[in-house]
Symmetry: C2
Subunit: 347 residues, 2 copies
C-alpha cells in the first residue's frame, strides 16, 4: 500500500478520453488520480473487483460488494447482449472475491425512443443470466434521457455476496497461473459485431457466470487459491500486470500454453491485436500454490465453463512487477500494461 | 400483493419516452410491465426504495440494498451537483428503509471530452456528501463513451446498509402524515438552472442526507413509524399516491399545512406547476401513528434538516387508494399520480 501510494500517477489530460475507459494504464491513472484521490479509504484502496467488509462485527460473515457500468456497443452480439453481460460481470466480480453472489441491483439509463421490444429482450436475458447464477435482481432504477444523450441503453449492475472463502491474497514464487478457458472471445466478437470490418469469424462471446466454476475450484483445493480476477477490459495481460506490481513478483507466461481459439487467433492477426489484451467476460485468471496446480486444473476442467482451462505460467521472484512471455520462437518479451484503447466500449 | 398483481398495467408504447423516466404513472407502468415482469421476485415486488434481506440466516442483521442512476441536467446547480445528489439519493433510500447506511459504490459513465476539472469537482462533492452521511465509497467503475453518446457524466450509486429499525409498514386510519421540510426546492432549482426560462428565484436544491434526521426520529418515537419515503421524482403527491394504493387507505392532505417556500411557490405559479409534484432530494414523507405525531414532529424540528417539518395530513379509511387535498379555499380535490414529465432529468 505504501508503495502504491508513493507511485500514485499524475493525470496529464484536461479532458476524458476513450482510453480512460479501456481498463489499461489510462484507466488506472484516472482511478488513482481522481477517484482514489477523492474517495480514498482502505476498502477502495485495495482496488479489487469487490470491496469486502464485515456486516455484523468480526463474528458475522464478510460481505462482498461491487458495481459495473455496462456500455457495450452493439447491445446485441453473438453469444449474448448487454443484459447477460451486465449480470455476469457483477456475478464474476463477486465470485473472484470468493463470495457466493446473493442479490443484484440494476439501474437503466435509456435513450428516448429506445424500442421497448429491445428492452424486453435485454431484461429477459438478464433474468436468464441471474437464474443461471442463482441470484435475484432485487432493486432497480430507470432514467430516461433525451435523444442523442445516450446510445440506446446503459445498465449499471451492483451486487452483494457472502464471502465463503476469500483467496489468501499472498502470491509466492512457485505459484501456478491458470486461465479458465480460451481467451479473447468476447472482445473479438463485439468488435466483429460492429460490422465495420467486414470480417465473419464464427466466434461468440464467452460471457458466463463463473460462481459455480469457482465454487468447485475452492472445494477441490481449499486454502490453495491465492488470487482470482476475471479478465475483462485489458484482458489477461492487464490482470497479470496489476497482480505482478501489486504482489511485487514476476509472472512468467508460456505463449504456447495460453489457450486461444483459431477464430480469435485469426481475427487478432488480421487486426494487429494481441489476444492477451482482448477482453473476456467468462474467463478468470487464477493463481494457486504450485502443489495445488494439478487438483485446480482438474477441478476447472471438470466444469463445463472450465473445459478449456490451462496452466499458462508461473510466479517467479525476479524481476518484480513484470510479466514476461516466453514466445513460441524461444524468445522472451515483456508483456506491458495496455496503453490506449484498441477496442472501446467492449463491456 | 395479489391485488397489485391483478392490476399489473400494460405498456402501450413501442418506444421509451421521457415520461417513462419521470417517476410517475408511466414509470410505474414500465417497471411493472417490463422490469417486474422479467425479474419478479418477492424482494423486488415490494417496489420499495431498498430491498431488505437477511445475510446470515434469521439470526443475523437484515441488510438494505438500493441503487440510483443520476442523470441530472445541468450537472451543477445552486445547492449541489450530480455528485452529492447521487450520494444523498442512495443514502436516503437506505435511511427511509430504517437502515444505517454502511457503504456505497459509484459507477461513472463519462462522455469523451468531459473536463477532468468537472470530474474532480463532482468527486470532491461526493466525498463531502459521503462524509456527512458517515459512509465510504468503497467500489467503483468507470466507462467512457464517444462524444455525443452521453451528456457529460452519468453516475449510478448503489448502497448497502444495516437495518436498525424498519418502519412497521402497516398504515392505519388515524395515522399522521408528515413532511420533513419545505417541498419542491430541488426540482425548481434544477429547472431554473437550465436557464431557458430566464427566471431568477434565489432558490437552492434541498439535496441532503437524511440518515441522521431519521435516526433521531426513530429514537424519539420507537415503534411508531409506519412508512417513510423520500419524495424525489414525482414529488410528495406521487409518494402519497403509491402509499394510498399500496396500503388501501385514503390520505387527506391540508393544503395550508404543506410547507412551500415563497420562491418555489412563485416559480411554480409562473410555470403552471403544482409543488406537490416537484422533486425534493432532501425531504422525506413520514407516516407515524397519530399518538406519536407530536413527538415525531418535535424530533424532526430539533434537527437542522427537519427545521421546517410539518404535519400535512392524515390517513383515513375512505376512499381507499386516493389522495385528497383540502384546498385553501375550502374545497377538496383529488391529487392524482403524475402523468407525463413536466421536469425531465431532475435527478
Amino acid at each position: 500500500m505504501e508503495r502504491a501510494r508513493a507511485a500514485r500517477p499524475r493525470l496529464r489530460e484536461d479532458r476524458v478520453t476513450l482510453a480512460h475507459g479501456a481498463g489499461g494504464k489510462a484507466t488506472r491513472t484516472l482511478v488513482e488520480a481522481v477517484f482514489r484521490e477523492a474517495f480514498g479509504n482502505p476498502l477502495l484502496d485495495r482496488l479489487d473487483d469487490s470491496a469486502v467488509f464485515p456486516v455484523d462485527g468480526a463474528a458475522g460473515p464478510a460481505l462482498a460488494f461491487t458495481t459495473d457500468a455496462s456500455v457495450v456497443s452493439p447491445l446485441f452480439f453473438p453469444g449474448g447482449d448487454i443484459g447477460d453481460l451486465a449480470v455476469n460481470g457483477t456475478v464474476n466480480d463477486l465470485a473472484v472475491a470468493g463470495a457466493t453472489p446473493l442479490h443484484l441491483s440494476a439501474a437503466f439509463i435509456l435513450e428516448e425512443g429506445f424500442p421497448v421490444a429491445d428492452l424486453r429482450r435485454i431484461t429477459a436475458s438478464m433474468r436468464r443470466a441471474a437464474g443461471e447464477a442463482g441470484v435475484g435482481i432485487v432493486a432497480g432504477d430507470t432514467k430516461v434521457v433525451e435523444r442523442g444523450k445516450a446510445d440506446g441503453c446503459y445498465i449499471t449492475t451492483s451486487g452483494v455476496g457472502v464471502v465463503e472463502s476469500a483467496p489468501s491474497g499472498e502470491v509466492l514464487p512457485g505459484d501456478s497461473v491458470l486461465v479458465t478457458g480460451p481467451i479473447g472471445e468476447h472482445g473479438v466478437t463485439v468488435m466483429l459485431a460492429r460490422g465495420d470490418l467486414g470480417i465473419e469469424a464464427g466466434v461468440a462471446s464467452d460471457t458466463a457466470p463463473l460462481n459455480g466454476l469457482i465454487a468447485d475450484l475452492r472445494a477441490a483445493c481449499p486454502g490453495a487459491v491465492r488470487r482470482m480476477r476475471d479478465a475483462t477490459r485489458g484482458g489477461v495481460a492487464t490482470v497479470l500486470n496489476e497482480l505482478a506490481v501489486d504482489a511485487g513478483v514476476a509472472v512468467a507466461l508460456d505463449e504456447d500454453a495460453v489457450p486461444v481459439g483459431p477464430a480469435v487467433r485469426g481475427a487478432c492477426e488480421l487486426l494487429g491485436l494481441d489476444p492477451l489484451y482482448v477482453a473476456c467476460e467468462g474467463r478468470a485468471v487464477i493463481v494457486v500454490s504450485g502443489e495445488a496446480e494439478a487438483a485446480a486444473l482438474a477441478a476447472l476442467r471438470a466444469h463445463p465453463l472450465g473445459a478449456g482451462a490451462a496452466v499458462i505460467g508461473r510466479v517467479e521472484e525476479e524481476p518484480p512487477g513484470l510479466v514476461l512471455l516466453k514466445t513460441s520462437f524461444g524468445g522472451t518479451r515483456v508483456v506491458d500494461v495496455l496503453v490506449g484503447d484498441p477496442l472501446p466500449r467492449i463491456c
